[in-house]
């Protein structure tokens, strides 16, 4: 499963961890969106771990952006904890290193 969802991630109350294990491309985004949607309303903090992502494309990046935007709208926390090499590259190519970087929260 591409996405591992861990409630009470890192033993923090209310923190949901999304761990993306495999690819983050157009082929997966539909499913991923559904999975993420299920957890959206339940939590107020989210942490994303992209260290395990091998292949990533625009659809994947777009998904991340959409998710982040939604969290901002709901005034929830968004934290990107790790990025694989391919993710970092694409984020840089898209000039999004300001938007999608490790460590910063909202």
């Amino acid at each position: 499963m591409a996405l591992r969802i861990e409630q009470d991630f890192k033993s923090t109350e209310g923190l949901c961890g999304f761990i993306f294990d495999e690819d983050l491309t157009i082929y997966e985004v539909e499913t991923l969106k559904k999975n993420v949607s299920n957890e959206l309303d339940k939590y107020s903090q989210f942490e994303i771990d992209l260290a395990g992502v091998e292949e990533v494309d625009s659809a994947g990046i777009q998904l991340l952006l959409a998710f982040k935007a939604e969290l901002m709208r709901q005034k929830k926390e968004f934290n990107l904890s790790a990025m694989s090499h391919s993710v970092t590259k694409l984020v840089n190519d898209f000039g999004l290193s300001g938007e999608l970087n490790i460590g910063d929260s909202l």
Partner: protein, 756 residues
């Protein structure tokens, strides 16, 4: 390619090359940088047009060669090279070479003969010196020869934001579904150049609930550093998504100047703004079409809403869409208005086959004779309606005549301009400093005259430079300026065209001429000669006063051949000179060869024509004018002394039987004097009857009568009779010469005194 097409190309190239020559020669005369740059622009335009046309015909040698010439011109324009004498000479040589290449292109096959090939290479080598390194520069230039657009060199520095292309992308919703990946475009761009900056625009992403993860809502703003590419190439990158996506490519700021320059260099045709922008590369065709359809949509909306709104012009839309800078649009607008103005002023010209024109003029001649004949017959019938109709017809025929003859008139300026080059080269060769001044370039001559006068004129100009103008050393020693001046002038004067070549050189010494003439046995000792006659000796065969005969003018063969050439055109040549001051040679030529307005007279049984434009007036010959002395050969014409002669006598004709003289109504002996003027001289000729104006179609005399003096041609009258055209210049000279030699009134040997 069709032969005819090639011929048209060759003809146009010829015109362009002669323009190029003029432009090059003008460069010599220019002092300020603005004019020089304009001159360079003119030259660039000319070579550019030739290159384009040659490209159409696949004439690669010409294309390649012209391209190199263009490149050097560009460098001059950019300030990287300056124009100097050597460069102008190199350009002149390449112009000549191009001429040969064009000629060659009319034959089959691309293979150049060895001479041409060698010349080609040697010129290219010389150019490459200007372009930087020897073969590298040429090759780079040749490789850039694909789009005909101006391409920047690789030396441009980067880092400044305005050196970058600004590409704005808004991908369509289905982009991802269609299998396209925006990231791959960005990496492809990184192959072409360097993507300096990317901004991802994500504000099109809808709220999570409506967000379709498989649709594409992304947009990008890119800064691309890619100096050696152009809009077309960039547009091609997005070929597969261009239908769905919004793509705006804005060229780097630094390109503005080159776009503007390209716009200025566009040919002088009416073009719409969109087309101008596409032509210079600031817009791609695709972009232009998009804008046009946007315009259409706006137009529809405005019409539908009925509002009083102005549809924005294409330029404005383009700037709004961020596909072109305002400055470039401004340049395009300016170009458009310049062309409009020029076209308003420019003369529309059309090339005409010379043979067709000749046959037209011949036919018009026949028409003139035929209508004169008809008019004569009509008059006999005495029908007034018919006479009126004939009168109208004759007037129309006269207009047709004037127009047809006018077609053959060409400005002499073209011929004069050729001499600039001659002067330049000869001055260099002889080490003299000479300026050629030209006036009266708009004066028009019959085409055939222009062609035939070229060589004699060339010779005279060369002569003036060679023998007339002294070396700078001599001139300074004589208290003159080091620079000598040769003047070429042309103007109309009483039915003739006068071409004058004058120089402020050393002049001709009468004594030297006389000595030489005596030496050559052309004159006798103690022969009395007027100044005119002395100078005329120059034109005798075998004459040359120069101490050293230079290669340029050749041995004395020159002047007498020049005179013969001019006389065969029914012209005259005359020389005036002042020692130490200079000389002036005047050539007089008849304005037309074919049809003139004539004044018909009867002398004895025969009819003669006097060219009307030389006729001043007609007066009666009577006692009052004679001042009572019937033997005088001059009359008092309102205080002026007018010499005259009887044509009958001059023609050595038999005295007329008195019956004819008496047919005059009033039974008086009335003779008329036709007063003519030529070259400022006036004379009178007594004739038996004045017969009025007549359209005279000149039939040349032919070889049999070529030495006949006094008659310059014949014509056919309406009656079918042959009438002779009097050579007024010759006759006037005779009257004056005879008058000069004896002031005593002549005794008339024939009994022309009528005491009735």
């Amino acid at each position: 390619m069709s032969d005819e097409g090639l011929q048209i190309f060759a003809d146009e190239a010829e015109d362009l090359l002669s323009l190029a020559e003029q432009a090059l020669l003008n460069l010599d005369d220019l002092n300020n940088i603005t004019d020089t740059l304009e001159g360079i622009d003119d030259l660039f335009r000319t070579f550019h047009t030739i290159k384009g046309a040659a490209g159409l015909f696949g004439l690669n040698t010409i294309v390649d060669f012209t391209h190199i010439v263009e490149s050097v011109l560009v460098k001059i324009r950019e300030g990287a090279l300056t124009v100097d004498d050597e460069m102008v000479s190199l350009f002149l040589s390449s112009r000549d070479h191009l001429e040969k290449l064009v000629e060659h292109s009319l034959q089959e096959g691309e293979v150049l003969d060895p001479d041409l090939k060698q010349n080609d290479e040697s010129l290219l080598n010389k150019f490459s010196v200007y372009l930087g390194d020897s073969s590298g520069a040429i090759l780079t230039e040749k490789n850039k020869l694909t789009t005909g657009q101006l391409e920047l060199s690789d030396e441009d520095d980067d880092g400044v934001i305005n050196e970058n292309w600004h590409i704005s992308l808004r991908f369509g919703l289905n982009t991802l579904r269609n299998g396209m990946e925006p990231a791959s475009f960005i990496s492809y761009l990184n192959n072409i150049g360097e993507v300096k900056h990317v901004t991802t625009i994500s504000d099109a992403i809808p709220v999570w609930a409506e967000f379709d993860s498989e649709s594409c809502y992304l947009g990008f703003e890119l800064e691309l550093f890619a100096p050696s590419t152009n809009k077309e190439a960039l547009e091609e990158v997005f070929e597969f998504v261009q239908d769905d996506c919004k793509i705006c490519i804005l060229p780097p700021h630094s390109h503005i100047d080159s776009y503007i320059k390209l716009i200025e260099d566009l040919p002088e045709e009416q073009m719409r703004i969109g087309d101008i922008l596409v032509a210079c590369g600031a817009l791609t065709t695709h972009e232009k079409d998009n804008i046009l359809s946007t315009q259409d949509k706006i137009t529809d909306q405005v019409t539908a809403s009925g509002a009083e709104q102005k549809v924005p012009p294409l330029g404005k839309i383009a700037v709004g869409q961020q596909v072109v800078q305002q400055a470039v649009v401004d340049a395009a607008i300016k170009k458009q208005s310049v062309i409009k103005q020029q076209q308003g002023n420019a003369q529309q010209t059309i090339r005409v086959n010379a043979l067709k024109l000749e046959s037209l003029v011949n036919l018009v001649g026949e028409l003139v004779i035929g209508s004169a004949n008809s008019e004569l017959n009509a008059r006999r019938l005495g029908d007034s309606d018919l006479n009126e109709a004939m009168g109208n017809l004759l007037r129309l025929v006269e207009e047709v005549r004037d127009t047809a003859l006018g077609l053959r008139m060409v400005q002499i300026g073209e011929t004069f301009n050729r001499f600039k080059r001659v002067v330049r080269e000869v001055s260099r060769d002889t080490g003299k400093d000479i300026e050629l001044r030209i006036s009266g370039a708009e004066t028009e001559l019959d085409k055939t005259l222009i062609e035939k006068i070229g060589d004699p004129l060339m010779h005279l100009v060369r002569n003036a430079i060679d023998h007339g103008i002294e070396s700078p050393k001599h001139r300074l020693a004589a208290g003159k300026s080091a620079k000598g001046v040769v003047n070429l002038d042309a103007f109309h004067d009483s039915g003739s065209i006068v071409i004058q070549i004058s120089d402020d050189g050393g002049g001709l010494s009468k004594e030297k001429i006389i000595t030489k003439a005596l030496d050559k046995g052309l004159i006798q000792e103690n022969q009395q000669l007027s100044d005119q006659e002395i100078y005329r000796l120059i034109f005798e065969a075998g004459f040359s006063t120069a101490e050293t005969v230079s290669n340029i003018s050749g041995r004395g063969v020159g002047m007498d051949v020049v005179r013969k050439n001019i006389e065969s055109l029914r012209g005259q040549v005359e020389l005036k000179s002042a020692v130490g001051k200079g000389s002036t040679i005047s050539i007089r030529l008849p304005l037309t060869l074919a049809i003139i307005d004539g004044f018909q007279v009867r002398v004895g049984d025969a009819h003669y024509i006097v060219p009307l434009d030389m006729v001043e007036e007609c007066i009666e010959l009577n006692d009052a004018l004679h001042g009572g002395d019937e033997r005088a050969n001059y009359v008092n014409l309102r205080g002026e002394i007018l010499p005259f002669m009887h044509l009958k006598e001059m023609f050595g004709m038999h005295p007329v039987a008195t019956e004819i003289v008496q047919t005059n109504k009033n039974d008086e002996c009335r003779e008329n004097i036709v007063v003519v003027r030529f070259a400022g001289k006036k004379a009178g000729f007594v004739v038996d009857e004045l017969l009025g104006e007549n359209q005279t179609v000149i039939k040349p005399l032919g070889k049999v009568f070529q030495n006949l003096k006094g008659i310059s041609g014949t014509t056919i009258l309406g009656s079918g009779e042959v009438a002779m055209i009097i050579d007024i210049p010759e006759m006037v000279n005779r009257v004056i010469d005879s008058g000069q030699n004896s002031f005593i009134p002549q005794q008339h040997s024939k009994n022309l005194n009528c005491n009735f």
